[in-house]
């Protein structure tokens, strides 16, 4: 009986681990450089959506930003519409989650 429980537990563990790996693998990581056309802060201030126009394709991509440092920059207008951004984001379930969101500026 003990052996059976152990085997069931092991199978369950493997199944859960596999599912987790598959889920992670589904998330696609993309990079782009583009100007911000729109920034919308969430009412609670804990996230924002920024729409960027890809400098290569011209396509508009909306990215969800949740990191505190970037949100601060939105709030105090250090990053505003028109700024060019280098962005890395994860595309998952129709949602683009920002991983890196930085101004391209520099001499």
């Amino acid at each position: 009986m003990k052996k059976l429980v152990s085997v069931v537990m092991l199978v369950a563990l493997i199944a859960v681990s596999t599912l987790m790996v598959v889920t992670t693998a589904c998330a696609e990581e993309l990079k782009m450089v583009g100007a911000i056309s729109k920034i919308e802060m969430a009412a609670d201030g804990r996230s924002a959506s920024a729409t960027l126009k890809d400098s290569k394709s011209g396509e508009e991509v909306t990215i969800i930003v949740t990191d505190e440092l970037t949100l601060d920059k939105f709030k105090d207008k250090r990053i505003v519409e028109g700024d060019e951004i280098r962005c890395k984001f994860e595309k998952e379930g129709g949602k683009n989650s920002s991983k890196i969101f930085r101004k391209t500026a520099g001499c």
């Binding site: 990079k31 601060d72 250090r78 505003v80 280098r86 890395k88 520099g106 001499c107």
Partner: protein, 481 residues
């Protein structure tokens, strides 16, 4: 007795209030009234109460971009002043490139003053001090990319509020210092080891001192370590000529806060302190949250090289050349006795086949005052005059970056620097040791014995002057080696 007690309470309250006021800063909202059109108008208001502070500030390297070279081995007693104003490095190299210091109008973005757009600049005009870049806490204070002025375009766009900035002044935050120092070398994370824009709000794991309270860190300001006196700020960049005072770990970590007290190997660790700097064990890697530039080849300017992506940074720009980047970089280690060896403008290059040392720590195993410190080893190449055998200064900003013509850029650079150009150039490799002083890790992540000793290869013992692992062959202070 009661009167004495009351007096003590009142006195204590006054002291607490005074200290709080001094630390938190006076609310300037009631003294400062706008509107303001430019930075000088704000500074004139500041001067109404702060003439002394302005006079103090004008003696600092933040204002002069120069100071006596007390940090440079062999030049400690020189009275001539050196600094960003008249030294060169292996990043954008020099601010002297171009007739009448043309480049100042861009590099001067990080001068804590207004109007230094050309070589000639009146350093006696107090109204040109930019108080706000260090002290504005609100209003999104910005300096223009060109012209050494307040960013009036940002004001026009409603992105910056100069009056709010002026009213908000207080002790500098990490963001104030970071406005320039996170962007050393011309952009985010380029120059310094472990000092980039992510340090504005780092996690404890990135920096135990500056990490936010929410992440378990101390949320310390820069000046908690870089103690300021009369506007002179302690600290010594490993590339710069002058320092006003040093920053040491021991200024806090002494007495009851002395290191390794709770460690089971405390005695052994404390024996290291005479030879190994705190940073060596407590900064095991740098550039934890963003990649830092590790090399820069100016010789690739104008070439058609495909830019790759390395740690989310570009490896080539036609106007600047090619770069490499590093993240979670393991430092290199070298002895330092508190001074540096530095390439100075006009120094002759004896053997161009070998890299020119732009900056490196001074000290050897035989120097009892020296300790082993961690460094970012930054490499690259840049032009030298093939005949005169010194590193040349070139006009990058409105010459090389526009047409990639080295000869023209070198001629213009010579006009600005006064360092003649023979008409022939070649490239020479450079090496710069940049001290890793930030991104101190939590104690759990400090180096463990086995990383350096008993086969650990983090330290190149022979290069440091030992016969081998000092645990096996003996330390430098051991009687028998």
């Amino acid at each position: 007795m009661k009167i004495k007690q009351m007096a003590a309470i009142i006195l204590s309250s006054i002291m607490v209030m005074t200290v709080s006021w001094a630390v938190a800063g006076q609310d300037h909202g009631e003294f400062v009234t706008g509107p303001f059109k430019n930075g000088q108008e704000v500074t004139r208001v500041c001067l109404g109460c702060h003439e002394k502070q302005a006079a103090d500030f004008m003696k600092t390297t933040h204002w002069k971009w120069a100071g006596t070279p007390n940090h440079i081995k062999g030049m400690e007693t020189s009275k001539k002043e050196y600094g960003k104003a008249n030294m060169m490095n292996a990043f954008c190299t020099s601010i002297q490139g171009g007739k009448d210091g043309l480049v100042h109008e861009a590099c001067g973005k990080c001068h804590a003053g207004y109007g230094w757009t050309r070589t000639q600049y009146d350093f006696t005009r107090k109204e040109n001090i930019d108080c706000l870049v260090c002290h504005a806490l609100k209003g999104n204070y910005q300096r223009a990319a060109k012209g050494c002025i307040v960013d009036t375009k940002a004001m026009d766009r409603g992105v910056m509020d100069l009056e709010l900035a002026a009213k908000s002044v207080g002790p500098p935050t990490r963001r104030n210092c970071g406005y320039c120092h996170f962007f050393g070398g011309g952009a985010d994370a380029v120059k310094h080891a472990g000092l980039d824009s992510t340090m504005e709000k780092p996690q404890k794991a990135q920096d135990v001192h500056m990490g936010t309270k929410a992440s378990g860190g101390q949320d310390m300001t820069c000046q908690a370590c870089h103690v300021a006196k009369d506007h002179k700020i302690a600290g010594a960049s490993s590339m710069m000529a002058h320092y006003d005072a040093r920053v040491t770990c021991e200024q806090c970590h002494n007495g009851a806060k002395a290191p390794h007290q709770k460690s089971k190997n405390g005695r052994i660790l404390n024996r290291h302190v005479a030879t190994v700097a705190c940073q060596t064990c407590h900064i095991p890697v740098f550039a934890k949250a963003q990649a830092t530039k590790m090399s820069w080849k100016w010789s690739d300017v104008g070439k058609d090289i495909k830019s790759e992506d390395q740690f989310d940074k570009e490896t080539f720009a036609k106007y600047k050349g090619s770069f490499t980047w590093g993240m979670n970089v393991t430092p290199v280690y070298a002895w330092n006795n508190g001074t540096v060896e530095r390439y100075m403008i006009g120094d002759r290059i004896k053997d161009p086949s070998k890299p020119v040392i732009m900056a490196c720590p001074a000290g050897t195993i035989k120097d009892k005052t020296a300790k082993i410190y961690p460094y970012k080893l930054y490499t690259g190449d840049q032009p030298m005059d093939a005949k005169f055998k010194y590193l040349s200064i070139f006009q990058q900003y409105q010459s090389l970056w526009v047409d990639y013509d080295w000869n023209k850029a070198l001629k213009l650079g010579a006009e600005g620097s006064g360092l003649p150009y023979s008409g022939a150039y070649r490239f020479v490799n450079t090496v710069t040791y940049i001290a890793a002083e930030h991104e101190v890790s939590p104690r759990e992540e400090a180096l463990q014995c086995g990383e350096c000793h008993m086969g650990g290869d983090r330290m190149n013992w022979k290069a440091l002057g030992y016969k081998g692992d000092p645990m096996r062959f003996g330390g430098r202070f051991d009687k028998k080696k």
